[in-house]
Amino acid sequence: MTTRATSPQIRLIAAEHGEPKVISNGVLGMLLFVLTEIMLFAGMISVFNIVRASAAVWPPPGQPRLPVEETAINTLALFASGLCVYLAQRRFAVSRPSARTPLALAIVLASIFVVFQGYEWVSMIAQGLTLTSSALGSFFYLIVGMHALHVVAALAMMIQTWRRHARGWLHPSQLATTAVFWYFVVGAWPIIYWRVYL
């Protein structure tokens, strides 16, 4: 991490006194944001657990089963995308242009995850699982939908990062900020899969 500062003046003083920041502004800000996000998902998942535990019959009768196996394969795409961002970060530290391929690959894999999930939603709705059909449907679309929104937001960030990189403007801490958010979105998914699908 290099020293980041808001103005040349501060940067100069910080350099004089030799006090590099432990974590750059962007990464620290994103970590704090992720803290709130963790609590947001924790809130939703705990509420779902309580409703599920106190229901007389689970899953609710007459509702389709969630696609456990297909989603497991889709999960691999998400993991692979997270791994690509990690590779991009490592390569960026060595030689900047070589981060281009893993970054592009991460975007493609994340897009595959989103598109496949959209496809899954369409088939679930066709089978009768809707937002209002049962508690399972309500929580499924709430939690998985909230996660999907985060994937889309992270995709937008990654595309922005990639464009910046293509123009040669990308700062290491910007790549790190995007990566922190993407690691959170990828890392939250197995927990959601475990609590909602299984």
Partner: protein, 572 residues
Amino acid sequence: MAESIRVEHAAHHDDHHGHHEMSFLEKYVFPLDHKMIAMQYMFTGMFMALIGGFFAYAFRWQIAFPGTEAPFWGQVSPADYNSLVTNHGSIMIFWVAMPVLIAAFGNYLIPLMIGADDMVFPKLNRLSYQIFLLSALIILASFFVEGGAFGGAWTAYPPLSTKAEYSLTPLGSTMWITAVALEFVAFLLGGINFITTAMNSRAPGMKMWDIPMVVWMIVIASILFMLSVGPLLAGGIMMLFDQNLGTAFFDPDRGGDPILWQHLFWFFGHPEVYVVLLPAVGIVAEIITVFARKKLFGYKTVLYTAIGTGVLSFTVWAHHQFIAGIDPRMANVFTVTTLLISVPIAEMMFVYIATLYGGSITLSTPMLWALSFIFEFLIGGITGIFLGASGNDIYMHDTYFVLAHFHYTFYPIAIIGTYAGFTFWFPKMFGRMMNDKLGKLHFWLTIIPFNTIFLPLFVLGAAGHHRRIFDYRNFPELSYPWMWDLQALATYSLIVMLLAQVIFFYNVITSWISGPVAPKNPWNSNTLEWTATSPPPHGNWPEGLPTVYRGPYEYSHPDRKSSDYWPQNEPA
């Protein structure tokens, strides 16, 4: 979050500090300067406080004099009454206490007290205020839609809040929860900014223990807010779905659970008390050290107790739900944690009294406010212990005793804390001194009526007056003449207190225009903000940022012969 990257990038590459003349719009309407954003938050908060106070007047009139027309409002209908009490509570907490104590003082003080030229994410900061303003407009607009504003209390328990056939405010309840959720997003952006700035932008030489207490307190409060707000945001989304999309998260008929909302709400709602308390406690620490000319007794003790309070505050939330049908064994656990949390707060109060002990005290206006904070908050804290015991709370729940208790905590926090900070930093903010005589008159005309509003309510609450009753004439056992007298005393006191605020605004305006010009350091204080000019220019220290050599509270230091204070930036 693409925004933050762009913002950071912009801040990184171009120096936005005052190399060109700014237009009116750039300077006052869409500012990036932390001081101007602080002023926007401050004055929006004060405007909302006037509205919240006026609401209190209207429903207090109905309680004390039912059946008569309240001057300037008219006959208060039952629906009016519900939406007035609901929005009085919501506005005072979310649109007054939060924006003034955290956002306004946080924005103003953090960069100035740690010796930075601005926040690290100035554009995020501006966006935060804009979202906050939008949320304020939505809550105000809800009074003018069909069905009127939401009237299901500021806690918004379902099913009253989720079913339009019960609340009769189909649009009002949706606007309420939308406004609250937007307000949370605004403070989320603000909180990220405050913590990152305080950690990464400190002046050279400023170590962890050299940070002024108020900055620490705002940082801890922001962390508490960010850890607690997630579950309530989740609950808010679920409530919006229940209201508008036909889901049944909180509907027991269709597999939901209404108690879940209460848990989600209070998991945020209780830490929220400490979110607004800690900045006020920090402001008081700055003021009492300056006006007692003494070092803060136990800097690290205050800091550790604040962190301890923060941790404990996540374990007490169900004491709001003792009569909601929770397991009595769980109620015991929450009673113990609730009584425990009074220990660190009591410790903090003792530390402040020890700071005052043996000091050479000047009773200036800010000092009067700070001392009254300690005194009044103690009453609020001690009555809280009565309510924390679940056995007692079952009888006291939802009476005026509870109401008087939390007003004895929130009033010192939101109103006394704000006046203390505002009168203390007024010379820095506006470059003029305030009129001390008018300030003291305003102080006494606020603090005496405050006590005569809420002391009678403790008595009435213990006698069984219930806070949700619209007209006591329907309850003969709650209608003895002495009860009416006490209710009328509370209402008259409120009117006196509201009128006394005219003195404050008169004082602010006349002092701002024609008060004596303030020097850089009118109170002989140590902290860095007093080394900038009054008011500080864009960028705070155009001649170069200060360097820190010592802690913030070196008053009456034995090694310092020349004066009784030792500014943080003065080389040894």
